[in-house]
């Protein structure tokens, strides 16, 4: 499973955005995470916004978007929910 992680520019984040990536890496050991490259090569795109302005708001076939400080359980569940969705 290839997972593209995209961050917004981070001008004035309301929470620690990097925590989302840390939690994903901790909970999904078998996934291959990357930050650049073709979006089409990704099985999942994770959009990490620093606030609810959601500067990153593109929609992909499989994408999950974060814009506020949610707990580890919620982050993991949201990713699993998207992955369980049929294309």
């Amino acid at each position: 499973m290839k997972v593209l992680i995209r961050y917004c520019g981070g001008c004035n984040p309301e929470y620690l955005r990097e925590k989302v990536e840390e939690i994903l890496r901790k909970n999904f050991h078998s996934f291959e995470f990357f930050h650049s490259g073709s979006k089409t090569g990704a099985d999942l795109v994770v959009l990490i916004n620093g606030c609810r302005k959601n500067c990153l708001n593109e929609e992909f076939v499989r994408s999950v978007c974060f814009d506020s400080d949610v707990g580890e359980k919620d982050i993991v569940e949201r990713v699993k929910r998207v992955l369980s969705r049929k294309n």
């Binding site: 004035n12 309301e14 929470y15 620690l16 606030c51 609810r52 302005k53 959601n54 814009d67």
Partner: protein, 492 residues
């Protein structure tokens, strides 16, 4: 129905018979009462300018519910562009009236309800959101002016609603019936309510489970049975009965014309009930409404500041000192402060976001910063205006003495400034500055949309102090700076 124009709005008030008292007497006709007239006139501008091609771009919108062209004061914001246009409309109207045009509270109430009821329904399976949409369709179709009634009278501020010695000191549900609810209590400082068509009541604070009966939101017509308004006094309010000079802004008065609204066992049918017991959403509703309302203040108050700055520049000319460097400096300071507040309103609007309901709301942190600035900077720009205008701002003879043949020539002769300027112009400008810098305008800037402490709570909550601390530690060399190390290596 088409959007109303100013005249049609004033005529529409005749269909309602609200129970309003002022100075010990009941007001017979809102449309004709001389004390209410300037407030009615200011609200009428929200209707009139929507028909003017010079302003229609920001005064109107397209309803997402019906596709019809509507007055923007009845619109649910569908984009950040809508949020920006909203504050542009506020500045325009502040400048056009030099006063409060009152209609923003209802606009903010329908938007806050639209967003929050969607979330309530998601959790509880209720149908509040559909009720709100139906109500908004009614407001849009009839182009109604809606007053937002939020602030409870609160009694002992150290006690929660259910702890008060008198349980009616916060508006509450006293009876639930098959066809609706009965509410009792009072709301204070309700802007524009006397000359509105409808009232939306919202909770004033976050509630706990024991305050369940106080977690109530609804709409009623202004003349619903059991609703009584007691119109508040303002500084110099009776001057408007003496002519058109002494009150400074005879056409539009100052601030909104606020009233105490008493709900004495008022029946509300279920279709007009938008929250009833969902205490866990009171915080969201209050926060959302407050964000919308605080967004406004860098628009409307800056529009009013445009008028005060203009009046200050005029009086400097009338006094013959417009070229003095300290006068130019003071005017520049005033402009700088006003435009700073304008920047805040624009910024919180541009940084707005889409909520799960589909409606947009402004950035919460920046909206609160906007309003906190308005609790301060209008005091400073008013001080500068009084400074450069001089003492006649508070000692000018009355219009009656100016009109009296026995004293007129003396006033004409000794109140003269620059020779080519009529004395009356100077009198009028002093009074306008007095109106804008001394009367109810300043306390309204302080407390309207919430007092400074309320904004500071929101600013503290939303400002991510942990991030700032981490950055400080990194810069101070206490924590690793990985970006720096990639460039220069680890220099420790």
């Amino acid at each position: 129905m088409e959007m109303m124009n100013g005249k049609e709005y004033i005529e529409s008030l005749r269909k309602y018979r609200p129970r309003i008292y002022f100075m010990g007497k009941r007001i017979d006709s809102v449309a004709d009462d001389p004390i209410l007239a300037p407030h009615v006139n200011a609200a009428a501008m929200t209707y009139e300018l929507a028909h003017d091609p010079r302003y229609a771009e920001i005064m109107t919108a397209t309803s997402h519910l019906t596709g019809e062209k509507i007055n923007r004061f009845t619109h649910i914001h569908q984009s950040t562009d809508d949020l920006v246009k909203k504050v542009r409309m506020m500045r325009l109207l502040g400048r056009k009236t030099g006063s409060c045009f009152q209609r923003c509270v209802g606009l903010d109430a329908i938007n806050a309800l639209y967003i929050t009821t969607y979330d309530v329904d998601q959790k509880y399976g209720t149908d509040y959101h559909e009720r709100v949409k139906e109500y908004i369709r009614y407001v849009q179709k009839n182009d109604l002016m809606v007053a937002g009634a939020m602030t409870d009278v609160k009694g002992d501020r150290s006690l929660r609603p259910h702890q008060q010695a008198d349980p009616d000191l916060y508006l509450r549900v006293v009876e639930r019936r098959g066809d609706g609810i009965v509410v009792r209590g009072a709301k204070a400082h309700i802007t524009g309510v006397a000359n509105s068509h409808e009232i939306i009541a919202l909770p004033t604070r976050a509630m706990g489970e024991e305050d369940k009966d106080y977690a109530v939101a609804f709409a009623v017509p202004v003349d619903a049975e059991g609703v009584t308004m007691i119109f508040g006094r303002q500084t110099n309010d009776l001057r408007r009965l003496d002519g058109d000079i002494d009150c400074g802004n005879a056409k539009y008065a100052t601030v909104g014309g606020e009233a105490l609204v008493v709900f004495d066992d008022v029946f509300v049918p279920w279709e007009r009930v938008f929250m009833c017991g969902e205490y866990d959403f009171t915080s969201e509703l209050v926060e959302t409404f407050a964000t919308f309302h605080r967004q406004n203040y860098g628009g409307c108050k800056v529009g009013v500041a445009d008028v005060l700055i203009g009046a200050s520049a005029c009086i400097a000319e009338y006094n013959g000192v417009e070229g003095a460097s300290h006068i130019v400096d003071k005017l520049t300071e005033m402009i700088h402060m006003a435009e700073t507040c304008w920047c805040c309103s624009l910024a919180c609007s541009y940084e707005g976001f889409k909520t799960p309901s589909g409606a947009y709301m402004p950035n919460l942190l920046l909206a609160n910063v906007t309003k906190l600035n308005i609790t301060r900077l209008p005091y400073e720009w008013s001080r500068l205006s009084q400074d450069l205008a001089g003492g006649f701002v508070i000692t000018t003879p009355s219009e009656l003495d100016y009109r009296n043949p026995e004293t007129r020539e003396m006033v004409e002769k000794y109140l003269k400034g620059r020779a080519e300027i009529p004395t009356e112009h100077r009198l009028r400008m002093f009074r306008l500055i007095e109106n804008l810098s001394i009367g109810a305008e300043l306390p309204e800037s302080m407390h309207g949309a919430g007092s400074p402490a309320a904004q500071k709570i929101m600013i503290w909550r939303r400002s991510n102090i942990d991030m700032k601390k981490e950055e400080a530690k990194r810069i101070a060399g206490i924590k690793r700076d990985e970006d720096f190390e990639r460039v220069r290596g680890n220099q420790k």
